[in-house]
């Protein structure tokens, strides 16, 4: 009884206090001037992001989230951004996108390849919402794609790897065997060969974007096989840490990872999504948004190789600078023939330049990569 009494009292008093709070601001009287200013004030654009990993991964998702913050800062009060992290690349993603629409978001970014089908499905139902899908290849009236030429960073990292390796064996921890990742492995190898034609690249796939213990295990298997420079396309810094624990060298990927292992770190191939996020949001604000496919690289400031270690020979640094400058002004092309496939057969004729369609469909290893490509014929 006493309990019931006290709880009803508590309930009543809490109701009373809410009532009080509500009545505290004086009821607005009708003032024409104020209404006018309220009308003039535009509602901020609601922008949502779906991330595949946790923001704290220190890699891929971390880079996207930094860009989101940069965009929000740049556009001030014109946008309100929210994000959902660790959204699986499966049917669950669809529910998350529906949820984002339900919350009134008008511009939605999905930051991994696996959201392609879910986003396509959801985009059909929500014509007034604009969708931006990272690394995909399917578009719709209100769904467009954007990507970074991460392979440019991989190529520059390769230059360094080729000049630093002593055993001429490079190791790559691959995430999921899709063209984007295969292209990075190939470009890394091409970069290394430009400095050191004797290198071979060994690849081990973990079939996940984020699984630090397994990324470590994969890195160990490469080190045990004689690789002395490691490179990864997975989302955490586990491979770099594993290389450091074994006294080998490795790279940072997606974000600057130099501080994780100052001794072992050779350089970080970073992605800066901010320029695109700012552009895309401005498009949506200005009403100039139209479906297209964007693929930005060093030229647009989306890709860079940073924090190059003192260990790297001057010759390799100079080469990286030349390549970077060449990519910026368009005088240098990475995928320019002659390039031979793994079996020695020419995939790109002498002086032929690969177009984006070719690059988007790379499902072969170049010469110098060891071992079979999963799923390839």
């Amino acid at each position: 009884m006493r309990l019931a009494f006290w709880s009803s009292f508590a309930l009543a008093s809490s109701l009373a206090s809410t009532g009080c709070e509500k009545s505290q601001p004086p009821a607005p009287e009708h003032k024409p001037a104020e209404t006018k200013s309220a009308e003039a004030k535009i509602e901020p654009l609601k922008v949502a992001f779906a991330y595949v990993g946790p923001v704290g991964d220190g890699g891929w998702t971390f880079a996207h989230d930094n860009a989101r913050k940069a965009m929000e800062k740049e556009l001030g009060g014109k946008v309100v951004t929210t994000f959902v992290e660790s959204v699986p690349e499966a049917a669950d993603a669809e529910r998350v996108f529906h949820d984002m629409i339900g919350q009134g978001n008008k511009l939605i970014f999905g930051t991994t390849f696996g959201y392609m089908e879910p986003m396509l499905k959801v985009a059909v139902d929500a014509k007034d919402v604009k969708f931006e899908h990272a690394t995909g290849y399917k578009t719709a009236e209100n769904l467009r794609t954007y990507d970074s030429r991460t392979y440019e960073g991989a190529y520059m990292a390769g230059i360094i790897a080729g000049s630093v390796t002593k055993r001429n064996v490079l190791g790559v921890v691959g995430s999921v065997p899709i063209p984007e990742v295969i292209r990075n492995i190939d470009s890394f190898t091409l970069g290394a060969q430009s400095m050191n034609p004797k290198v071979t690249t060994k690849v081990v796939w973990v079939n996940k974007w984020f699984d630090p213990p397994n990324e470590t295990a994969a890195a160990k298997s490469l080190i045990d096989g004689g690789a002395d420079v490691l490179f990864q396309n997975t989302d955490s810094s586990a491979v770099l840490k594993a290389a450091a624990a074994a006294g080998k060298n490795a790279f940072g990927w997606d974000s600057d990872m130099s501080s994780y292992a100052p001794q072992a770190h050779l350089a970080s191939a970073i992605v800066n999504w901010a320029p695109y996020y700012i552009k895309a949001t401005k498009d949506a604000l200005a009403g100039t948004w139209k479906t297209e496919r964007t693929w930005w690289g060093v030229k647009e400031g989306a890709i860079d190789l940073v924090s190059i270690s003192d260990k790297v020979p001057a010759e390799a640094r100079a080469k990286v600078d030349t390549v970077k400058a060449g990519l910026k002004d368009g005088s240098f092309v990475i995928w320019k023939g002659p390039i031979a496939g793994q079996d020695g057969k020419e995939v790109l004729k002498k002086d032929a330049i690969a177009d984006d369609k070719f690059l988007g469909g790379i499902n072969f290893y170049v010469k110098g990569v060891d071992g079979p490509l999963p799923g390839a014929k």
Partner: protein, 315 residues
């Protein structure tokens, strides 16, 4: 030819070493869960406890510079997580499965929240090298077995110790009796609930050591969600190994071994789809443990009879 044979031999030694290292993660956690379950309490919160412990271990190692303190902090964090769970399910008789799941979810969320500032922190870079004197220098045996992190030996010793404890020691037999029939143990005058709580806390501490081993020794970093399902595998392992420490250890090494083996095979260019290789550890471990534990009566005799069931001392 001899050089090739020599390098293949060296590689198999390294593979064994890497398997033991990887298997130790699962062995520590699964042995902890075994202690829980032998006393009749199933704790599905392993993943959450391991995540919080991974964070605690990482944080303490970064601050103190001492990885052993980090492992101790992991044990403490696991025990601290397990204690309220124990109070809930042992004294208040809350549903063990629901409470365990809640603990797991809480651990994942809490470690992500509390760990956010630590994603920017770095563990001091170090080159790991260990070797047992003399035998560590022997050919093959040395690199395969005797150049491991000390925790690898601790885990193996623990399995032997627990096997002895649960079959030869009075205290161990009491714990088992409680797991079989808490009513009977109660009637004999054993403090069932207090002993169960000790088992739950000890199990939590071991899961904690496992979590800290991942962040402090194995990957040497903290990232939210980094345990990546190892806690669930440890839970399954305990059951498949029919609650026997030796088999838990075997299963853990097997899982670690096949995980490493598939990476080795990939690297050596064996032409098997890597997706198929990725499921190999699960397949192999289930197949082996199910086939050695397929005797149904055996499972029944080894499964703690009161597992997951509430106990009212008054009744």
């Amino acid at each position: 030819m001899a050089a090739i044979a020599g390098s293949a031999l060296m590689e198999s030694a390294l593979l064994i070493a890497a398997s033991l290292h990887a298997g130790t993660i699962l062995a520590l956690a699964a042995l902890g869960l075994l202690v829980n379950e032998r006393a009749g309490v199933v704790n599905l919160g392993a993943e959450g406890m391991m995540l919080v412990a991974a964070l605690a271990g990482f944080a303490v190692t970064v601050r103190s510079g001492n990885p052993w303190l980090g492992l101790a902090a992991g044990a403490a964090a696991g025990a601290l997580m397990a204690a309220p769970f124990g109070l809930l399910v042992i004294w208040l008789n809350a549903n063990q499965y629901a409470a365990g799941l809640a603990l797991s979810l809480f651990g994942a969320g809490f470690s992500a929240f509390a760990g956010a500032p630590f994603t920017q922190e770095r563990m001091p870079e170090r080159v790991d090298s260990f070797a047992v004197p003399v035998v560590g220098q022997w050919p093959f045996v040395g690199p395969a077995f005797f150049r491991q992190h000390p925790m690898v030996y601790v885990a193996a010793a623990l399995a032997i110790l627990l096997a002895w404890f649960f079959t030869r020691s009075r205290a161990g037999l009491v714990v088992r009796a409680i797991g079989e029939s808490p009513e009977a143990a109660h009637a004999l005058g054993y403090p069932v609930r207090r002993i169960r709580l000790s088992a739950v806390v000890a199990g939590g501490a071991l899961c904690g050591v496992s979590g800290a081993y991942i962040s402090v020794v194995y990957t040497q970093l903290w990232v939210e969600g980094m345990v990546a399902g190892k806690g669930w595998i440890a839970l399954a392992l305990t059951t498949f190994a029919t609650w026997r420490p030796g088999r838990v250890l075997l299963g853990a090494y097997l899982f670690g071994g096949v995980t490493m083996l598939q990476f080795y095979l990939q690297r050596r260019g064996v032409d098997v789809p890597s997706h198929l290789l990725t499921i190999l550890p699960y397949l192999a471990t289930i197949l082996v443990l199910v086939s050695i534990s397929r005797n149904a009566t055996w499972i029944r005799t080894h499964m703690p009879a009161s597992l997951g069931k509430p106990f009212w001392p008054g009744s």
